[in-house]
Structure formats: structure tokens, C-alpha cells
């Protein structure tokens, strides 16, 4: 009885000790991690993540997954202007207009498409964010100048921009990525600037100033990290649009000049000439683009929710 009583007494003490203590659990939960936790609970996010991961996997292991060499014009001699060999032994989805295995090309295409998406988005984001930081950190006339510059970029049709760049830099895959990146720059710049301006007025920035923290550290250590979440969200969405943009550019003949290298956008746009012969040539890459875009967008959309301060606890 007494033993039991002691145990309970202990429990009361424990409870008393708990009051005024910080909450339990090992290690602090950072915002990123708590956002991640919320993401894991969101079925939409999971769907998006699964799609993205599957395609990343396919891209990474393309050489092992693809049944054939995506460049070999194996069935070319069977191709006729009005006829493209369909599915057959060894060619589960049939061949393309140059007798190459469509499935293998789709699989390898994920590499280039994702590469274009990632590189151009990263590039656009980095430059855009640099401009955004400039405007957001300094404000005043720097802000005005940068924002006017962004306005100027915005009022030039993105297609013209892309074309000029690929003409200036010669037509190669880097020019293509840069061209797409340039069209993303204003988006990132405005987004980051807006969000930094909002953060700049917040109390913790004032607090950092009051503490005598140096200006650079305030901008890069406080304001910037806290302004990033809309940019992250935009990033995932941009990945999707970059792939579509690449398709539009190759439709205009401004895509990757190494056209043998499979890329969904290019595949889709070349397939336009064979729609009456074999629409599958267009349907498959279009499907790939849509699904990947969907994956990134769903992920982005749920990231937005996960990073939304409203849902923070």
C-alpha cells in the first residue's frame, strides 16, 4: 500500500515538474521537419511524391530499365512515309518514325526532360532570387531599378526571349535551359522580393537589428530563409512548366539540336507530323509530361499548404 502510494506520489511530483517545462519529445522539431511530417500525412502530397520519385528512379536507372538502345534505328527499313511499325516482339510500344524503340526512348527521355526541368528551374530560381534579394534587401531605389528591370523582362514575350537566347548562344541544350530559365526569372524575383519585403517589417528582424546583428547576416540569416517557402513552392511548379516550355521550343525548332537524344517535349513535337499515322507517338510523351507535371504540381500545392504559417503549430 505504501509502496503504491509512493509511486503515485512520484507521479504527482512528475506532473508538477512537468508544469513549466518545455514539451517532451526528443530533439526540437524544425519547421521544415514539421512541414515534412504534415506532407507525409497528406495523400495528395504522397501521390505527387510517388510520381516524382518513380520518374526520378526511371531517369536514374534508364540504362537498366530500357529494353533497347534508344538511338538505334533498328526498324528504319520497315518505316514508310505512311507507316510506322507498331507494337511487336521486342518493341512493346512500337517504333518511332525512325524505327527506334518508343519505350526505350520514353525511358531515356525522362533523363533529358527532368534535367531540363531541374537545371532551368534552378538557374531561373538562382538568378531570380538574386534579383529578388537585391530588391528585397535594399529596398529604395535598388528595389525600384530591379523591379523596373523585371517589368521590362516581363513585357517581352517569353518566346521571343527564348528564341533570341538560343540564337545568341547557338542552339544547344544549355541555351535551351538558359532560355527557359530566363522566362522564370521574373516570377522568382517578384515572389522573393514580395515575401522579403513582408518579412523585413517583422519583429524578429527588428529584434536582430536591436541586438546589433550585422546587416548581411540579417538579410541572409533571417530574412531570406524565412522568405523562401513561396519560392520553394514556385520551384516545384516551375519544374513542370519548364518541361512544357521545352516542348513548345522544340515545336518551334528551337529545342535540343541533338535531336537523336530523346526528350519528351521534342518527341511530342516531332510526333505532330505523324499524328495521322501513329498518334501514339504523341500520346505517350504527352502523357509522360502531364503525369510528371501533375506530380510536381501536386507536390508543390501540398508543400504550399504544409509551409503555410496558418497550419504551423
Amino acid at each position: 500500500m505504501t509502496a503504491m502510494g509512493d509511486v503515485r506520489r512520484q507521479r504527482i511530483d512528475e506532473l508538477a515538474a512537468r508544469a513549466g517545462q518545455v514539451p517532451e519529445g526528443e530533439g526540437g522539431v524544425s519547421l521544415v521537419r514539421s512541414a515534412f511530417r504534415r506532407l507525409r500525412r497528406n495523400p495528395v502530397a504522397i501521390l505527387g511524391a510517388v510520381i516524382v520519385v518513380v520518374f526520378l528512379f526511371v531517369a536514374a536507372f534508364a540504362p537498366w530499365l530500357a529494353p533497347r538502345d534508344p538511338l538505334a534505328q533498328t526498324l528504319l527499313s520497315e518505316v514508310r512515309p505512311g507507316f510506322i511499325p507498331g507494337a511487336q516482339e521486342g518493341f512493346p510500344l512500337g517504333a518511332d518514325q525512325l524505327g527506334r524503340d518508343l519505350l526505350s526512348r520514353l525511358i531515356y527521355g525522362s533523363r533529358q526532360s527532368l534535367l531540363i526541368g531541374v537545371v532551368s528551374t534552378v538557374l531561373g530560381a538562382v538568378v531570380g532570387m538574386a534579383l529578388g534579394v537585391l530588391a528585397g534587401a535594399f529596398g529604395g531605389w535598388v528595389d525600384t531599378v530591379v523591379m523596373r528591370f523585371i517589368d521590362i523582362i516581363l513585357s517581352i514575350p517569353s518566346l521571343l526571349m527564348a528564341i533570341s537566347i538560343s540564337v545568341l548562344l547557338g542552339q544547344n541544350q544549355y541555351a535551351l535551359m538558359i532560355a527557359i530559365a530566363v522566362t522564370q526569372v521574373p516570377v522568382f524575383a517578384r515572389l522573393l522580393r514580395g515575401s522579403m519585403l513582408a518579412q523585413r517589417g517583422s519583429d524578429y528582424v527588428l529584434a536582430a537589428r536591436a541586438l546589433g546583428v550585422k546587416r548581411g547576416r540579417i538579410v541572409f540569416g533571417h530574412v531570406l530563409p524565412n522568405s523562401l517557402s513561396p519560392v520553394i513552392v514556385q520551384g516545384t511548379l516551375s519544374l513542370a512548366t519548364a518541361i512544357i516550355e521545352a516542348a513548345a521550343l522544340s515545336f518551334l525548332g528551337l529545342g535540343d539540336p541533338d535531336i537523336a537524344r530523346p526528350e519528351w517535349g521534342a518527341m511530342l513535337s516531332t510526333a505532330q507530323d505523324f499524328l495521322s499515322v501513329r498518334p501514339e507517338l504523341a500520346v505517350w510523351p504527352a502523357l509522360c509530361i502531364i503525369v510528371v507535371a501533375l506530380g510536381f504540381t501536386l507536390l508543390g500545392e501540398s508543400l504550399r499548404e504544409a509551409l503555410d504559417p496558418k497550419f504551423r503549430r
Binding site: V79, R80, P81, G253, P257, T270, D273, F274, V277
Partner: protein, 545 residues
């Protein structure tokens, strides 16, 4: 001549061609303007060919020049004086009379172009055929004079014999236009600023010829040119009431619009669509091939040019020629009716030689040649155009990929360079930046010089054009020059054959194919005769309900 015209009508089993109706035809682009004298592109000529006629025309469905506004003509012994007997009772659309005066007015007009009109963008064809102007003494002209000896006889004198004459007069650029209208609407007054020519009112609003259709309107916003039947036409009047030419740049759009019935026909059918369109009951009208696609080499042998050193070795050039699988290209990439080319002009042109050196598909031989030359793994900057589809090259990218694969198989390394067709690609290729490149040519009229002369005539200083690496091959240059100035047709043919042999021995590039471009019209359209020169006339066309 008019009998030719009449016989053309019944292409489709002689069904009673109905008169009347409107035909809408899909074109790929807007005409630049409507004065053919200033024209140089196919879309301009597609329209002007319906409105205007020249002294000579083209044989219906063929490439040979036939009398049109001239009933016939005689050439003087020395080949310098042409006497044209003109059709009588011909009226321009503005009601004025067509006569020898009018003919000479036109010739003098061209010869006396001044200022901007003498720029190559304005009068390309005149300069290509006649050389310079009255106002440019530095560049002599082969045109001397035109004289209206009577109402219906025009005598044209040249300063020099040329094989181009008189066949070139069938070019739409040399259409005879109404002197009254030309003067009234200030036709020669090309103005311009900075980077553009401004065409006079005549070229935009008042093109006045003698042809079976009259110009009605040009609605640029909507991309449509409307022509109506010329009721006063001197020959067999057109069957259609109205011919509308509509611009639809995108190929798929053109096809779907035809399928949907919004248009009655269009040009530049994608080879892949020939079959399916036919299956749907549409009429695919395949033209005879009158073009050449080649893979040009930057293989100059003159020091100081930008030529690729490896390509100066004939064995390397031969290796390329042996590497290319022309038969597969023709069967897989080009429409039915395409032929593999063995030289740089189509077989139908006089001067074609059957017995040139040929280079069969033989990868082993290619590799061997390469080895002998010590050039295995040579890197070739392979240029190809984008955003374009030419009659001889329907799908540049596919062509590039297949040839590129062939060359890789033979042991070359390919570095692809893609450029938008105009001006980047043409600029780069013609200034000799490419190691190898894809280019071709559609003939303007039935003349060998129009093909091989354009490519391989001496450009300057005993060198060929930069496109072919400015190679120096005097025997080829001489052969071409001699042939061009030979008035006798038979001799000329022989000389051109010789030139072709020389060219294929030297191998400045690989001729690849002749490809038949096609138009397509709806089921209820009849009477459209495809022309190898893409010079279709619509006066024989009728459309039934």
C-alpha cells in the same frame, strides 16, 4: 498553245466540269506583295501566277516552256535577237489593251529599275537572269533593248547568248503587267527605311495582269487573298467564280481544316499524310520531282578558306558518299515517287548524265576509305535547318538523324548544329561555317544551269561558292560557263553532261534524292494539274457540290 490549256481540263476521267463556286486553298504563308517583278518566293508567285501571264508559260503539268502571251517566237542566228509574235485580242484587267508596246514597257521597266528596286531583295529574278540595270553600269546586263515592231510583234535584243533565255521568261517574275496600272499606281516607287522595303500601292492593292483571275482583295489580318474570275479572259475562262488563298502556317492545322471542310485544298502535304489523306478520299496530287537534296561538303582545296582539312581529301568525301544509305532514306523518309539522286539535278532536265560515277551504300568501303585517308573518327560539324519544310526536304530533322547515324556507323563523329532556316541557317551554311550540311534546290525552269550552275559555277576568283568550301576546280567552272553560252541545244546538253561527270568525280557534296512534293484537294475538286515547278494554275479547276 491554247490547245494545251484546253486539254488540261479533264484530268479526272472527263466528268463534266462545272462552272462556278468558290475554292479556298491553304497556303503556308502570306505573299510578300503582289507585283511578281519584285517577287522571289513561292507564295507570292502562287497568287501572281493566277493574275498574270508571261510571254511564255509552263507546260501544264510539266517543266517545259510553252507559248503563253506570245503565240510563238524566233531566235536570230547569233542567238541575240528574239522576235515574239503576240496573242491578239488580249486585255488587261483594267480594260487596257495588251500589245507589243505593253511588252516592251515591261522589259524597259525592269531594265530601268533604280534605287531600291535594284536591290536583290526587290528584283532577284531579273538580276539572276539579266544581270545589271541601266543604272548600274558596273554590272552589265544581257538585256539590250525591246522594240515593238508592230502592234503584235516585240523584238528583244540581248548583249550575250545565254541558255537561260527564253526559258526564263516563263518565270512569273517576267509576267507582263498593265502599263497603265503600273504608272497609275506608281509601281516602281519602292521606298524604304532602315531595314525594310515599302512597296508601292500597285504591288499591294492593284496588281493588273491578263490572267484568268482578277485580284479582288487582300485581307492581311485574316490572311486571305481573294481572286475572282476574269470574265474577259482571252482564252478559256476560269471555271471557278472565286479563288481564295488562305494562310495557315501549321501543317496539322492545314490538314485538319481540309478534313473539316473549311478549305478545299492545300500545298506542302507532309509525306506521312499522303496515304491517310488518300484513304479518307481526298485527292493527293503528287508533283513530279523537280528538285535535288544534297549533303554539301565544306571541302575546299584552296588555302585560306574555312574548309575542313579532312574534307579536302577526296577519299574522305567518298567515304561519306558511301556511308549514306540513300535507298532507305528514300523509302522511309520521303514520299512515294521519290528517287535516290546520283547527280545534282533531276533526270528530267536536259544535260542529265546517266553515267556519272556513283557511290553506293557500302559502310565497309566507307570505313576502309576513311582508314586509308587516316581520318577515322573525324569530327564533322553537321548543320541542319529547323523550323522549315522544303519540297526536297520535308523533315530536316529526320533526314539529319538518319544520315548522322549512317556517318557514325561509318566511323565519323558528328557534332550537330541546328539553326532556324532563315536567315541563320542559310547565312551560316553559305558563308562556309558548316563541315557538312543539308540543302537543296527546286528548279525554276527546265535548265541544267539553273541547278548545277547555281551550285558550282565559279563564284569569284577561280573558286566555287563558300557553301562548298570555295573549292577550286577550273575544269568544272569552264565546263559550266561553256555550256551556259552554247546556243545549240544538243551541244549544250552534251556539255552539261560532261559537267555533271566532272562534278560527281570531284564530289563537292553528295546528291541524295529527288522528292515529289504534293498538294491535296478535296474530293469534289477537279482539274488541278500538279506542276513540278509548283506553278499550278487554278483556271482549270472546278468544284462540285
Amino acid at each position: 498553245a491554247s490547245s494545251d490549256r484546253e486539254s488540261g481540263g479533264g484530268g479526272e476521267g472527263g466528268g463534266a466540269a462545272q462552272s462556278g463556286g468558290t475554292m479556298v486553298f491553304g497556303a503556308t504563308g502570306d505573299p510578300a506583295m503582289l507585283d511578281p517583278a519584285f517577287g522571289s518566293d513561292g507564295e507570292t508567285f502562287r497568287v501572281s501566277r493566277q493574275i498574270f501571264e508571261g510571254l511564255l508559260g509552263n507546260e501544264l503539268g510539266g517543266t517545259d516552256p510553252v507559248p503563253e502571251l506570245a503565240e510563238d517566237w524566233e531566235v536570230s542566228e547569233d542567238g541575240l535577237e528574239y522576235t515574239f509574235n503576240l496573242q491578239q485580242g488580249v486585255q488587261f484587267h483594267d480594260g487596257t489593251q495588251f500589245n507589243a508596246e505593253a511588252v516592251c514597257f515591261n522589259f524597259d521597266r525592269w531594265y530601268n529599275f533604280e534605287g531600291l528596286a535594284t536591290s536583290p531583295s526587290a528584283s532577284y529574278y531579273y538580276q539572276a537572269v539579266f544581270g545589271g540595270f541601266a543604272s548600274t553600269p558596273d554590272t552589265p546586263s544581257i538585256y539590250q533593248s525591246c522594240e515593238a515592231t508592230d502592234e503584235n510583234t516585240a523584238v528583244i535584243r540581248l548583249t550575250q547568248v545565254t541558255s537561260k533565255f527564253p526559258a526564263a521568261l516563263a518565270l512569273p517574275a517576267f509576267s507582263i503587267q498593265s502599263p497603265t496600272a503600273l504608272q497609275e499606281y506608281d509601281a516602281d516607287n519602292l521606298s524604304g527605311a532602315e531595314d525594310a522595303l515599302t512597296y508601292p500601292e500597285y504591288a499591294l492593292e492593284h496588281p493588273t495582269g491578263t490572267g484568268p483571275f482578277r485580284f479582288e482583295s487582300w485581307d492581311r489580318g485574316n490572311g486571305r487573298v481573294t481572286l475572282v474570275r476574269n470574265e474577259e479572259y482571252w482564252g478559256e475562262p476560269a471555271l471557278l467564280d472565286e479563288l481564295i488563298i488562305r494562310t495557315i502556317p501549321d501543317g496539322n492545322t492545314r490538314r485538319q481544316e481540309l478534313q473539316a471542310g473549311s478549305i478545299d485544298g492545300y500545298d506542302f502535304v507532309a509525306p506521312a499524310d499522303y496515304q491517310s489523306l488518300q484513304d479518307e478520299g481526298l485527292q493527293v496530287l503528287v508533283r513530279d520531282p523537280f528538285n535535288i537534296l544534297y549533303l554539301g561538303f565544306n571541302g575546299g582545296n584552296v588555302p585560306g578558306t574555312s574548309a575542313n582539312p579532312a574534307l579536302q581529301d577526296p577519299r574522305v568525301r567518298q567515304a561519306i558518299a558511301h556511308a549514306i544509305d540513300r535507298d532507305t532514306i528514300v523509302s522511309s523518309l520521303l514520299p512515294e515517287g521519290a528517287e535516290a539522286a546520283i547527280e545534282f539535278m533531276p533526270p528530267t532536265v536536259d544535260g542529265y548524265a546517266e553515267d556519272v560515277t556513283t557511290y553506293d551504300h557500302d559502310p565497309d568501303r566507307a570505313r576502309q576509305l576513311l582508314q586509308e585517308a587516316g581520318a577515322e573518327g573525324t569530327t564533322l560539324r553537321f548543320y541542319y535547318p529547323t523550323e522549315v519544310s522544303r519540297p526536297y526536304l520535308p523533315d530536316p530533322a529526320a533526314m539529319f538523324q538518319v544520315i548522322s547515324q549512317n556517318l557514325t556507323d561509318a566511323g565519323f563523329t558528328i557534332e550537330p548544329v541546328a539553326l532556324p532556316w532563315n536567315p541563320d541557317y542559310l547565312n551560316a551554311v553559305q558563308s562556309g561555317q558548316a563541315d557538312i550540311h543539308l540543302l537543296g534546290w527546286t528548279g525554276d525552269y527546265n535548265d541544267a544551269y539553273n541547278f548545277i550552275g547555281t551550285f558550282f559555277a565559279e563564284a569569284s576568283n577561280n573558286q566555287a561558292s563558300a557553301e562548298f568550301g570555295a573549292f577550286s576546280a577550273p575544269e568544272i567552272f569552264q565546263a559550266l560557263a561553256r555550256a551556259d553560252q552554247e546556243p545549240d541545244a544538243a551541244t549544250r546538253t552534251r556539255l552539261y553532261q560532261e559537267a555533271n561527270r566532272l562534278i560527281m568525280d570531284y564530289l563537292p557534296g553528295v546528291p541524295i534524292s529527288h522528292s515529289p512534293p504534293a498538294l491535296v484537294v478535296a474530293e469534289n475538286v477537279s482539274g488541278l494539274e500538279p506542276s513540278p515547278l509548283t506553278a499550278e494554275v487554278f483556271s482549270t479547276v472546278s468544284i462540285s457540290e
